[in-house]
Amino acid sequence: MKLWNALFRRRRGQGNSQQRKAAKQDGRSGKAASRESEDGLSEDIDENLRTIVTELGGSDDLTIRKIDVSGADSIVVAFIYIDNLVDSAMVNQMLLHPLMSEIDDTPSGESSEEWYRRVRDRALAVGRVHEMRTAREALACILEGHTIVFLQGSAVALAADTSGGDRRAVEEPGTQTVIRGPKEGFTESIKTNLSLIRRRIKSPRLRVERKTLGRLTQTQIALVYLHGIAKASIVEEVRRRIDRIDTDSILESAYIEEFVQDAPFTPFPTIENTERPDAAAAGILEGQIAIIVDGTPFALLAPVTFVRFFQSSEDYYQRFGIASFLRLIRYVAFFVSMLLPAMYIAITTFHQEMLPTPLLISLAAQREGVPFPAIVEALLMEITFEVLREAGVRMPKVIGPAISIVGALVLGQSAVQAGLISAAIVIVVSFTAIASFVIPAINMSIAARLIRFAMMILGGTLGLFGIMSGLMVLLIHLASLRSFGVPYLAPLAPFVWTNWKDAFVRMPHWAMKKRPPTIADGSNLVRQSGGQKPKPPGRKSKF
């Protein structure tokens, strides 16, 4: 039964709409409201309900259930929660039903304090029940999906965690699919995501620190790390940077990433993100700190090094030989994605002598009649491809294939036949695009895409010298980057041998005895005991 309309009929009748409008406003009124709600709760149940409803501006999704048992010992209890944020079945079965039974069993003459203790200890059949002493605390809990129980005569309210409502189920991650490996992905629920990690790391050393960010969104975030394996100094640094965030909204983990990353103007990601619980768990086991954000399936992992973006979780589920080979292919693909169009431009414009004569003749024949220089031709094709890619992402799925047909046939084949571009540039741009999809981390792939355009301009103006100069700038930039104090180019520069076992190739699991010392705590590097290389039974050494 919704009573709040009845409760505030009188106030509405008095035309107090100005106050309601103010309460619906954002930041400014939010601050005023918080100041107001600093006051403790009243023993009068109606006053408490009035405060909450006023703070929420009389929002229609606010539900109040008031139980009033009249008689010699009048009992008044009120439940207040927001529809859709709570699990209604849980509210009915775990709160309402036990409370009604408790009311029936209540002896006459019981004091309000005894009644409060009885409800707190026996009547609320949910796991997490908190005591609320201020309206501000109560409001925060309501907005998180808790049900607040007010009792007449008690200045302390009870908040029962009944959060629920419609959430996406655990599904296969859309961005990081694997052939072999777990098919579970993070969801938008922080609780689900934490449970997915907990199920993988059943250690008492796994620490979860919850925080709330965003003045208006009140987004729940959680730092997850392994005590004794993650470096204490890095944990403290992550904590410090997160605590420094002062914003009104956090809607995705990218918001936090931009606030806490080391270099704000680099195209390279200095924080990893993943949709896979197994990848997050693996990172945590290596000493990384995961930042889980409510409302997004993308968890952040820090600190991170450059080579980490070329590792896929599947590398550890396939045999190490093929995993190593594929990893090397990814590095090659990264350079192809970044440099191939620029190399094409530089060689065809400045250094034709590098090409074998038959290839040079073939290319010259293709380019005969093309009205644009190589750089314009390549830039046109690259921009066209970027448009097609963006259209493919935004288009409704039903007409998605049409874009492919238009892209491949009209813009590719027809443009070549019309003599606008050469066939060679279509091959170059297509191969570059395919190569960019090989990189497992989309944010690293995006960095390569951006750098590609700069390299094309350098290649078109200064040839291979320009490309070399661009690469030097990149190298200097990468060498100067850090992720939470960890050198970005480690284990390359500075050279760290232990990390090489899982950098460019993936050694067998039994050979990777230690955790990466650049990330993990130096006092706890040993991952497993040595001498675990499998041997057939009964086989003796030949020496």
Partner: protein, 370 residues
């Protein structure tokens, strides 16, 4: 550059020293040494090595005296302000001059071999801007980059030798010891001048994570540079013999130019040129850093950034206008460069060492922060 708390490892420091020597030396030494000593040029280079070790011992012994303190602060405390400022400005001028020579060498090469139509101003501006960017990141960044580039250089050198192997003729090295001593000395003198650039250790000393290894670092740096020079001279000799390289402008790339396997692998010299360009960039970064370091540390200047830009502008202008044409530059390289290098890198440190021996005073407190 402010002396930041970041430290560089011993391997990084040794590589930095060798990268301060090798990139420009590998271009000039084959022509000059083979021109003077013929097929015994490799002996000339090899003979320069003990002298290089001698320099390394001198630099190492001086650097070990001032662990954790900038060379100029230490000089100030031992020999007085006038000496420290004089030496500081002299070394700043030396680093500035070598940086300009490096740019000019690179620009001359690019204008002759690769980008004939590109304005020299553009070709000079690009490397100096990159060097400014690297120097602003500090010596640790330059050290990391230098290790990667040096590794790449060694890999490509090995690859080049492998590809050129079928064209090498050992008979070009014989008879051994045919050149008379004066020609051997003439052929080895440029190498000695270049190896003296190991004096970079004075600048690196306060950044070393293990300053006690200064001498070993200098010896390793000089040895690596000698090894690279020796390899290049041998490769050139084995391919072209004792006559041709003396009249070739860039015999090292000439050797790569004739690589040919089937109709697919040919004209790969451009790949080697790109690698060499990267090594020259590293050298330039080191010397731009050195110029600013000497200038700001000797004059105790705190605001480094403006001086980084102004000294870089000076280097840029110096490289553009100090030599009217290529012939003048070549004359400078052959006649003046070695004397200048030896004056700044050998005579000045030797005088400092002598001064210290004469005027013995208690050393600066070891715990002084840089």
């Amino acid at each position: 550059m402010p002396l930041n708390p970041e430290k560089i490892g011993s391997v990084q420091a040794a590589v930095l020293i060798s990268m301060a020597i090798a990139p420009t030396a590998v271009i000039v030494i084959p022509t000059v040494s083979i021109g003077a000593s013929g097929q015994d040029a490799w002996l000339s280079v090899l003979a320069a090595w003990p002298l290089g070790i001698g320099f390394a011992l001198l630099y190492g012994s001086l650097s070990r005296m001032n662990p954790g303190v900038s060379f100029f602060s230490w000089l100030d405390s031992r020999l007085g302000r006038v000496v420290s400022v004089t030496v500081g400005l002299l070394l700043a001028q030396y680093y500035l001059s070598v940086a300009s020579v490096t740019i000019r060498e690179l620009v001359n090469f690019l204008s002759n071999e690769l980008l004939q139509k590109t304005p020299v101003v553009v070709l000079s501006a690009v490397p100096i801007l990159i060097a400014v960017y690297a120097a602003s990141g500090g010596i640790e960044v330059i050290a990391r980059v230098s290790v990667l580039v040096c590794t790449g250089m060694i890999v490509f050198l090995a690859l080049g030798i492998g590809l050129e192997f079928n064209q090498m003729q050992p008979r070009f090295l014989f008879p051994v010891g045919d050149a008379p001593l004066p020609r051997l000395i003439k052929g080895g003198l440029p190498s000695v001048g270049w190896l003296s650039e190991a004096s970079l250790l004075f600048i690196l000393a306060p950044y070393l994570s293990k300053p006690r290894r200064s001498t070993a670092i200098a010896i390793a740096g000089v040895s690596l540079a000698t090894f690279l020079l020796l390899t290049v001279v041998l490769v050139v000799l084995l391919q072209f013999g004792p006559e041709l390289p003396g009249i070739m402008a860039y015999p090292m790339f000439g050797a790569a130019e004739i690589i040919k396997y089937g109709s697919f692998v040919e004209r790969v010299d451009l790949v080697f040129i790109c690698v060499w360009v990267a090594t020259v960039y590293v050298k330039l970064c080191i010397f731009v850093f050195g110029t600013v370091h000497c200038f700001t540390q000797s004059l105790r200047i705190k605001a480094v950034k403006p001086f980084l830009w102004t000294t870089s502008l000076l280097i840029f202008l110096h490289s553009l206008y100090s030599w009217s044409d290529e012939a003048t530059f070549l004359h400078y390289q052959k006649s003046v460069s070695t004397a200048f290098l030896i004056t700044c890198n050998v005579i000045v440190p030797a005088l400092v060492w002598l001064g210290l021996k004469i005027k013995r005073r208690p050393a600066a407190s070891a715990g002084e922060s840089p």
